[in-house]
């Protein structure tokens, strides 16, 4: 059915791109669920937290596979620098640039999360707010340059992802406008 000369790497890059946006969606939704301290019977909060980390790291792996396979295949003229330096690609500079922006944001999110104990909660939280920008940038990159966006099931999947993130974000910002701060020792002593 398949010939040996089938460009598997190109198909793999398209597949990993689609899976990456789904994983990013899951990661964002779980992150929002973690902020809102969502839990249920049989689903304690640490499950949400750990799954959020796992989904994020899995998304990083798949995005890395997506980037490497796109560059390695050579079908589109995207070089290594263009994968991290936004809008420097000679091929579709805007849409590839959005992918580079999303990649850079994801790298920053991952590094600061791994170094959270060393950099402090304030800096980590500040950088983590960019996660709300990372998802739409990656999503727009997929819509703009994706080879398979004309397929009905890809459109349905994209709409589902968008609904999930927009719905979760709307719920988070309407129900929990700001992260409740824990009272400091001094403030607690004044009560």
């Amino acid at each position: 059915m398949f010939s040996a000369s089938t460009p598997w790497v190109w198909y793999f890059s398209r597949g990993t791109g689609i899976v990456s946006i789904v994983l990013l969606t899951v990661s964002v939704a779980l992150g929002i669920a973690q902020v809102t301290r969502l839990e249920a019977r049989g689903w304690p909060r640490f499950v949400t937290s750990q799954l959020h980390k796992t989904a994020s790291l899995t998304a990083v792996v798949f995005i890395a596979a997506h980037v490497v396979s796109v560059i390695a295949d050579g079908y589109v003229n995207v070089r290594w620098g263009a994968a991290v330096i936004p809008f420097s690609s000679s091929y579709q500079p805007f849409w590839v640039g959005l992918g580079a922006v999303a990649t850079d944001l994801l790298i920053a999110l991952t590094v600061t999360s791994l170094l959270r104990q060393h950099i402090g909660a304030r800096l980590w939280r500040t950088v983590h707010w960019t996660a709300y920008a990372c998802w739409p940038v990656a999503f727009t990159h997929g819509l703009g340059i994706g080879t398979d966006t004309s397929l009905l099931w890809v459109r349905a999947l994209s709409a589902t992802c968008a609904l999930a993130v927009v719905g979760a974000a709307a719920w988070r910002f309407t129900t929990f406008p700001a992260t409740p701060r824990r009272p400091t020792v001094a403030a607690a002593g004044r009560r």
Partner: protein, 116 residues
């Protein structure tokens, strides 16, 4: 140095036992969900890779057969259609056909550069 043995928590009272049971249930849920998340992602990527490959193969085969069976086609045209079917399909051949007019020229330009 003696090997460390895992410490097992013994419930101190009923509330503690319930908390340990909830934690254990959470751990089971976490293991299952992690397995599904990673396994599903890998399986999804591989399945999509196969799907795109099969779609491209089917598109190429159909196009090649249609060209070969076209009435009035010369031997040279039939030969070129056969040669085209034998070459690897363009990765986004199906998308190029349905892509917008603005994106199509760049796609075709890339295809030419690959062919050369």
């Amino acid at each position: 140095m003696a090997p460390r043995t895992p410490r097992t928590k013994q419930p101190q009272n009923a509330a503690h036992a319930a908390a340990l049971a909830r934690r254990e249930q959470g751990n089971r849920t976490l293991r299952t969900a992690t397995r599904w998340l990673i396994g599903g992602s890998v399986a999804g990527a591989l399945a999509l890779t196969g799907l795109f490959a099969s779609q491209a193969t089917a598109t190429t085969s159909t196009a090649g057969a249609a060209s070969a069976q076209a009435p009035g086609s010369s031997a040279a045209a039939t030969g070129s259609a056969g040669a085209q079917a034998a070459t690897p399909p363009a990765p986004n051949r199906s998308a190029a056909a349905s892509a917008s007019a603005s994106a199509a020229p760049q796609r075709r330009a890339v295809t030419r550069s690959r062919a050369s």
